[in-house]
């Protein structure tokens, strides 16, 4: 196991290798932070303090972390209703996120939008949507605009395997490839759309073939390996930034909890315990933990614990928005 890890670390780019201990610590912090936030959201959920449909990223943390680690702050991320991970990984403010889930005025959207609509523009997190597939063309348009302005921004859009069935995905691919816009499309393929497995939705789960037909290069990351993701993203992002046009990642992953909400769902019998366990065995949080020196690990964990606790406390203490806010922001001045 350790040999394997060493091997993977060895494949990192030169710069990353030099900073390997710092990098591993940073990755672990990012992973552990998302894990702990999700655990606490799940813990609080039954108290009804979070009255916001929350689609937890628990189990899928590494996708966002591996990819966002390769981005600049000025790069842009769009994502879906299942985006606690992407929001945190891109550097979104944790306090404003939890306050948003609580529906409080210090939330990222002043409590107006909850878990399904997270934004932090100062971190390049450009927002998420509760309509499957709907942020995909936004990312393409954003990327087109950045290029028109002469900037070298890269735009990443995360979406689920289900989103690939929506017509807008194909229209967006075609246009992105035609205009060679700087977008990285990332499919977080957890093989389910709510409770429906892939084989009930597509004749063959050969998503990359579909995408390649648009002349868009693709990569498959089969085990959610955060280091592989980082390496692949660094390479892809530099190609995209250099004007190479859009690329596509299919990252296999698995959510550990139910589609929406804090519970297990094995009793629904749409997936097996063995399947879930096989993914738990690949848990990137545990894996990175094991790669750190124990003291470093403790330091990171302690930091994160207090940061997360503080965020929930922040949310608890924040006020609900005042009544007049109902009518604000319908239009932008």
């Amino acid at each position: 196991m350790l040999a394997e890890i060493d091997e993977r670390v060895a494949t990192l780019t030169k710069e990353a290798k030099e900073h390997a201990p710092a990098l591993l610590s940073r990755l672990y912090r990012a992973l552990y932070r998302i894990r702990r936030v999700e655990e606490d959201v799940a813990r609080i959920y039954p108290t009804d303090k979070i009255k916001s449909p929350s689609h937890l990223s628990l189990g899928q943390e590494s996708v966002s972390v591996g990819i966002c680690e390769a981005l600049r702050k000025s790069d842009i991320v769009f994502a879906t209703y299942r985006s606690h991970a992407a929001y945190l990984a891109k550097g979104g403010d944790i306090n404003r996120m939890i306050a948003e889930l609580y529906g409080k005025e210090d939330g990222a959207a002043r409590g107006k939008s909850g878990s399904m609509h997270l934004i932090d523009m100062s971190a390049g997190m450009m927002g998420t949507s509760a309509i499957v597939g709907s942020t995909i063309p936004l990312a393409v348009g954003y990327a087109l605009a950045e290029r028109m302005k002469g900037k070298d921004t890269v735009v990443v859009v995360f979406f689920g395997d289900g989103a690939m069935e929506e017509g807008v995905f194909h229209e967006s691919l075609n246009f992105a490839a035609l205009k060679k816009v700087p977008v990285l499309f990332v499919c977080e393929n957890n093989t389910y759309a709510i409770h429906t497995p892939l084989h009930m939705r597509v004749p063959k789960p050969n998503f990359r073939e579909r995408v390649e037909a648009y002349q868009i290069p693709t990569r498959l990351v089969e085990d959610g390996d955060v280091l592989t993701l980082l390496k692949e993203t660094e390479a892809a992002v530099s190609r995209i930034r250099a004007g190479g046009g859009p690329e596509f990642f299919e990252v296999m992953t698995m959510r550990w909890l139910e589609h929406v909400g804090p519970g297990d769902d094995l009793h629904l019998n749409y997936r097996t315990k063995a399947e879930l366990d096989s993914w738990k065995a690949k848990d990137q949080v545990k894996r990175l933990a094991s790669m750190l020196a124990p003291t470093e690990r403790q330091r990171v964990e302690a930091d994160v614990e207090s940061e997360v606790a503080a965020a929930f406390e922040f949310a608890e203490k924040s006020q609900y928005p005042a009544d007049h806010e109902l009518y604000e922001h319908v239009f932008h001045d």
Partner: protein, 351 residues
């Protein structure tokens, strides 16, 4: 014959209607995202795939636009599909097929074809559904000739309207509010149709006519109790079907009361409430002086946080207050005491 007394829920009534029609007519089938899911679409489609086979209650890819076209195509071939949408908001993905195709095909081909599809559209509310999971866009469909739009509110009407919708030879937008699913009421076991274009007077009264739509019927009935306590007798009308609309029943009631409050579970601008008020005025002007008023969603996207969400929707108390003002002819600053609606208060997530 004894009066039926069996009580079942709105959700079960919908299930029973679909199951009964599937039994009776092999051309009826159900499909849509999650219809054969373990949760069975709030129970409304629960075991249909077990009873009628996986071909007659099936899940689909996430492809609302094409799936609507598939429903229309199947209808052209003589089937009677029921296409289920988990949220009304998702109909925005298939407006082209609904408005440019389904609504127009009978006319476009001068009656050569028919499009008997039922589009079940579930309205979300509670637990922070928010801007994209709470819309009720029935007025968009009422605007378009060639579509029928129904919004039953009682378990009895849910079953009867569903049966009528399935048997109807035209596209029917069937609106369901998820806060109604748990409501129980008397539902005959046998098959029956609730005809479209016939409103129901749910409570009689002389002082003001309240026409309410979908879940607002429930809130308006509660408002009527508040109003009784201050001596205002409201007549509560549930149009049941919005297109066709039974304006006669409404006009008769307003002729009697002279006052009309329309409470929609939707925005008011160019909404069903504007249409009902306009039609009533057109009929009664020069004949009977009337006072009109309308309520609906606040003119903003729906916020998720509970305090603002509470303000977004009309409720029994604010409806009563408005009706009281209309009945008295001026602002009275009266707001009855009362708790939030039970079905909303009791609703628990995760979604």
């Amino acid at each position: 014959m004894t009066k039926p007394t069996r009580e079942i829920s709105y959700a079960d009534a919908l299930y029973e209607a679909a199951a009964g029609e599937m039994e009776r007519d092999p051309s009826v089938f159900v499909f849509g995202l999650g219809v054969d899911d373990p949760k069975g679409m709030y129970g409304t489609t629960k075991d249909l795939q077990v009873r009628f086979g996986a071909d007659r209650n099936f899940d689909t890819p996430l492809s609302e636009d094409a799936m609507t076209g598939v429903a229309i195509g199947a209808a052209l071939a003589g089937m009677r599909p029921i296409h289920v949408h988990q949220r009304f908001d998702f109909l925005l993905l298939c407006m082209n097929q609904l408005v440019n195709v389904a609504a127009k095909w009978s006319y476009t081909f001068a009656g050569a074809v028919k499009v008997p599809i039922v589009v079940r559209s579930i309205i979300g509310r509670s637990w922070g559904q928010g801007a994209q999971h709470s819309q009720a866009l029935h007025s968009m469909f009422m605007h378009v000739p060639g579509l029928k739009v129904v919004a039953p509110t009682t378990p009895h009407d849910a079953k009867g309207c569903m049966i009528a919708a399935i048997r109807d030879n035209n596209p029917v937008i069937f609106m369901e509010h998820r806060m109604l699913y748990g409501h129980r009421g008397v539902v005959p076991e046998e098959s029956y149709e609730v005809p479209f274009g016939k409103a129901r007077i749910l409570k009689e009264g002389d002082n003001i006519t309240i026409v309410a739509i979908s879940h607002m019927v429930v809130e308006s009935l509660r408002a009527a109790s508040h109003l009784e306590s201050v001596g205002v007798h409201a007549e509560i009308i549930d149009p049941v079907s919005l297109s066709p609309l039974d304006i006669e029943t409404i006009v008769q009631s307003v002729s009697k009361t002279g006052r009309l409050l329309v409470v929609d579970n939707a925005w008011t601008a160019c909404g069903a409430s504007a249409e009902i008020i306009s039609q009533v005025i057109e009929r009664l002007q020069g004949k009977r002086a009337v006072q009109v008023s309308r309520m609906g969603f606040a003119p903003v996207p729906c916020p998720t946080t509970k305090p603002l969400e509470n303000l977004f929707y009309p409720n029994a108390r604010t409806i009563a207050a408005r009706a009281y003002d209309v009945a008295k002819g001026s602002a009275q600053n009266w707001l009855p005491e009362g708790a939030e609606a039970k079905e909303i208060l009791e609703f628990k997530g995760p979604f």
